[in-house]
């Protein structure tokens, strides 16, 4: 197991180097110019020249790349062109809100999605199944930004339970942080719950018709142990894969929700970086995303061994 993990980690470094090369050159291939965007209407050739030199954008590309990598290896992400702040602190301040948002949304999705899927499969083709799948279908169809606006209208404006938007740090005010977190988590989590419940239902249906479930029932195991101990555990593999992938997307893909709730997540930061062609910032954020993705995939793979002991990775 340990050897497997080490091998995967070494592979991960390779992936990250590849990502770094790709993002470095791709972001420069898109048309646009960070300095001219920065200066906007106050453009002047002398200032422009100065800023190009200041940010080293006049050096040959390979030189810029190696300098960037050289600094990254030493833990120095450099400075953002647009905000002039240290990129490490820009990303650092966004990581926690994003993780809370993703974790909260995923928690809602798992807590709702998996039980709903199990019930739907166990009571397949009954009213329970239809109700669960009806809501799942709605959950899948409703765009999350629209859902977000509805949630705001219902829970903030009419009921006044939660603030419309904004963010509070959990270190300053844990209750306030939670109140700010619930609506965006719901807006993101409901759609996810729908896809997780459908996934769980279909794999559960498959597993429940397997011979070993019949055997389990035949030897007199209780329904509870049969369904949760044997069937669910085996049905979890594909669901876990979906959860892992979705978690990866959530970390960077919640931009719309972040914007709507003016929630300072990292997706917002990436959009900001791209639309300003803030090269160093784009590169660093993408690299961080890639690392998180690689790590989540690794964790998903390791969790397989728990759910399916036949997988041993040796």
């Amino acid at each position: 197991m340990l050897r497997y993990i080490i091998r995967r980690l070494i592979q991960a470094v390779g992936v990250l180097i590849l990502v770094s090369i790709l993002v470095f050159f791709l972001v420069r291939l898109i048309p646009g110019d960070p300095i001219r965007l920065l200066l906007g209407e106050d453009l002047s050739p002398t200032v422009e020249q100065q800023l190009i030199q200041k940010w080293g954008l006049d050096a040959p590309l390979y030189e810029q790349y190696f300098l960037w990598m050289f600094n990254i290896v030493q833990g120095d992400f450099g400075q953002s062109i647009r905000t002039q702040e240290q990129i490490a602190s820009l990303i650092g301040s966004r990581i926690l809100p994003t993780m809370m948002l993703s974790a909260g949304a995923m928690l809602i999705a798992v807590c709702v999605g998996i039980p709903a899927g199990v019930v739907a499969a166990y009571k397949a083709k009954t009213g329970w199944d239809h109700i669960a799948m009806f809501f799942a279908l709605i959950g899948l169809c409703v765009p999350h930004f629209w859902l977000a606006l509805l949630l705001m209208l219902a829970f903030s404006l009419n009921l006044g339970w939660f603030p419309v938007s904004g963010y509070t740090s959990p270190f300053v005010d844990p209750v306030g942080a939670l109140r700010h977190l619930i609506l965006p988590c719901l807006a993101l989590g409901i759609g996810l719950a729908a896809s997780i419940s459908r996934m769980t239902r279909s794999t559960m249906l498959d597993v429940l018709s397997q011979d070993y479930i019949r055997t389990a029932r035949a030897k007199g195991l209780s329904e509870r142990v049969t369904v949760f101990g044997h069937a669910l555990k085996n049905a979890m593999l594909p669901t876990i894969t979906v959860i892992g992938l979705q978690l990866g997307f959530l970390l960077g893909g919640a931009v719309v929700i972040e914007e709507l709730f003016s929630y300072p997540g990292i997706g917002q930061l990436l959009i900001f970086a791209i639309s300003n062609r803030d090269y160093p910032l784009v590169q660093s954020v993408v690299l961080v995303f890639a690392s998180v993705f690689v790590m989540i995939n690794l964790l998903v793979d390791i969790s397989y061994a728990y759910f399916d002991p036949r997988i041993r990775y040796e």
Binding site: L43, V47, Q50, L51, P97, E258, S262, S275
Partner: protein, 561 residues
């Protein structure tokens, strides 16, 4: 108990309007001993006060004079805001402002983003400001004069100017700011505006003298344009200090900037509010929902399509006023079909500006053929091209394009460019011009298409600077840095050069009247309309005034809850 101020303070404390800590701070600042104050406040156990000791010590030496002058300050906030964060007074007034855009940074001498400028104006005012009537009024300079040739400008600073960090702001400090702005190494966007300035010197503590190499009429206007004065020893690009009525306390990126009252602001009894939450809410619907939920008190730009309903509903105050931005069609004057002025005029005769305004802004603006609204001192009445398709076809015929042609029209990705482009497309189809609209992301459009003049015909917008030189010179002088339409006209060049160095107001007005006549006649740009400034504020907000350049000034604002 001595003195009416102390009496009032005590009453407010008894009524529970101010906290014990605030009462103690205030009482001590008014000269009462710590023991008496504590007895009054009803703490018999001195240990009770452990947490407050620092505040008391901090208030006593520095704030005594101010406190006696003005008890409001004492009541609402002691010396250090950090110490009272967890104990805000009951009557502490908080303004929640919802704006659309978050600035990338708050670099005092590089407030390149409009969103940064807004916060800059509140926290780090410059020598002069662009007032609500588009005039230039005293800000941290209370007075100024220039010699007859406009070569020597002398500014007198207000008395008692103090930075948010407690350091006095004197002439030397202001001079250091301008030295940095003028230093080509600083990379400040303002540097080119000060090319004419030869030297800047502090004559005494409150007097600053600029010497110019040649007369430069827009000098005052330049000083009002995001030209922030900060403490050069404390130069910071996220929470910079200035002398404004509110100081920037913190910036939660992606969420809000928090400002608090500057106790040593130069105007007595101002600002009213103790705190401003400057919130970034990019989505207009969310801003409106937040207004209705009373989470924000003042909102930036109300969506035009909802304007009528909102004004009818009367949930909050909305009162559109003329603005400074303007939107236009631009032609490439050196290449392609529109290098011939007759073709530009054909377009002018073919389009329906009223329909465009309706489509773009639901009518919330005014059509225009120059960049100045009638309220502006630089407005001049020039007859506009009438919609006349026959005349348009004739002009096309004369220019040799009688059979029509097809053309790409690149436009930026912000609203309402596609709405405008579609109406223009329909209008021009009637005279045989077949437009293909190509919408491009701003980050590509601005540097690679617009600034490179990589278009024959396009739609753009611009927020005008207050001085016509700043609006016209960079865009229409043949050497101008923004001359994206590649327009060249010797008479215009000569006028623009003369406009810069002419100090006499009337003479300048004549020059720019002529400039605008030429531009309307020659049409490098075809101005369409001037959008209104449309903010919304709650009924319980008092003292708020909209600014034609969308600046937000909050010192006079009261929020009654």
């Amino acid at each position: 108990m001595s003195g009416p101020k102390l009496q009032r303070l005590f009453e407010r404390y008894q009524q529970g309007k101010i906290s014990r800590r605030t009462f103690l701070n205030g009482a001590m600042a008014l000269g009462m001993t710590a023991t008496t104050a504590m007895l009054l406040a009803g703490c018999d156990d001195p240990d009770d006060l452990d947490a407050d000791d620092d505040d008391i010590a901090a208030v006593e030496p520095d704030d005594e004079d101010d406190a006696v002058d003005d008890d409001d300050e004492v009541e609402d906030e002691p010396d250090d805001p950090d110490d009272v964060d967890d104990e805000v007074d009951d009557d502490a007034m908080v303004i929640n402002l919802g704006v659309a855009e978050e600035p990338p940074d708050l670099d005092p001498h590089n407030l390149t983003a409009a969103a940064a400028g807004l916060i800059g104006f509140v926290a780090m005012p410059g020598l002069v400001w662009l007032d609500f009537d588009l005039g230039l009024s005293p800000m941290i300079a209370e007075d100024w004069e220039s010699d007859d040739e406009g070569l020597v400008w002398t500014f007198t600073l207000r008395e008692n100017l103090v930075f948010h960090n407690g350091k006095p702001c004197d002439a030397n400090e202001v001079v250091r700011n301008f030295e940095n702005i003028m230093d080509p190494e600083s990379g400040s966007m303002l540097t080119p505006d000060f090319e004419q300035v030869e030297s800047v010197e502090a004559i005494d503590d409150r007097t600053i003298e600029f010497r110019l190499s040649e007369p430069f009429a827009p000098f005052l206007a330049v000083l009002s344009h995001r030209c922030a004065i900060t403490d050069m020893d404390d130069y910071d690009t996220t929470t910079p200090v200035g002398c404004g009525p509110f100081k920037i306390v913190s910036w939660d990126r992606g969420s809000q900037v928090t400002l608090e009252r500057h106790d040593e602001y130069w105007e007595d009894d101002l600002p009213h509010a103790a705190r401003v939450n400057w919130r970034f809410l990019p989505d207009a619907d969310v801003r409106l929902t937040s207004m209705r939920a009373e989470e924000i008190d003042i909102t930036y730009s109300v969506p035009d399509h909802m304007l009528e309903d909102l004004m009818e509903a009367g949930d909050f105050e909305i009162n559109p006023i003329s603005g400074l931005t303007h939107q236009y069609l631009a032609f490439n004057c050196s290449e392609g079909h529109f290098a011939d002025v007759r073709m530009r005029k054909a377009v002018a005769h073919a389009i329906d500006k009223e329909a465009i305004l309706e489509a773009a802004l639901w009518g919330n603006g005014q059509i225009s053929n120059i960049p100045h609204p009638p309220e502006s001192p630089w407005y001049v009445e020039i007859p506009d091209y009438e919609r006349d398709l026959d005349r348009a076809r004739e002009l096309m015929e004369e220019a040799g394009y009688g059979d029509g042609f097809s053309l790409d029209m690149p436009i930026p990705d912000w609203t309402p460019s596609s709405e405008v482009a579609e109406i223009v497309q329909a209008d021009l189809a009637e005279i045989g011009i077949d437009l293909r609209i190509v919408q491009t992301e701003w980050a590509t459009y601005w540097p690679d298409i617009y600034l490179q003049s990589d278009f024959e015909f396009t739609f753009m917008g611009y927020s005008a600077r207050v001085d016509p030189d700043q609006t016209f010179y960079p865009r229409y002088h043949s050497e101008g840095v923004h001359n994206a339409t590649v327009y060249e006209n010797e008479e215009l060049d000569e006028l623009l050069e003369r406009g810069r160095v002419t100090i006499d107001e009337d003479e300048r007005k004549e020059i720019y009247d002529r400039v605008q006549e030429i531009l309307v006649d020659e049409l490098p740009w075809l101005w369409l309309y001037i959008p209104n400034v449309t903010m919304g504020w709650a009924n319980y907000v008092e003292g708020f005034q909209q600014h034609p350049a969308y600046h937000v000034y909050l010192k006079d604002v009261r929020v009654e809850s």
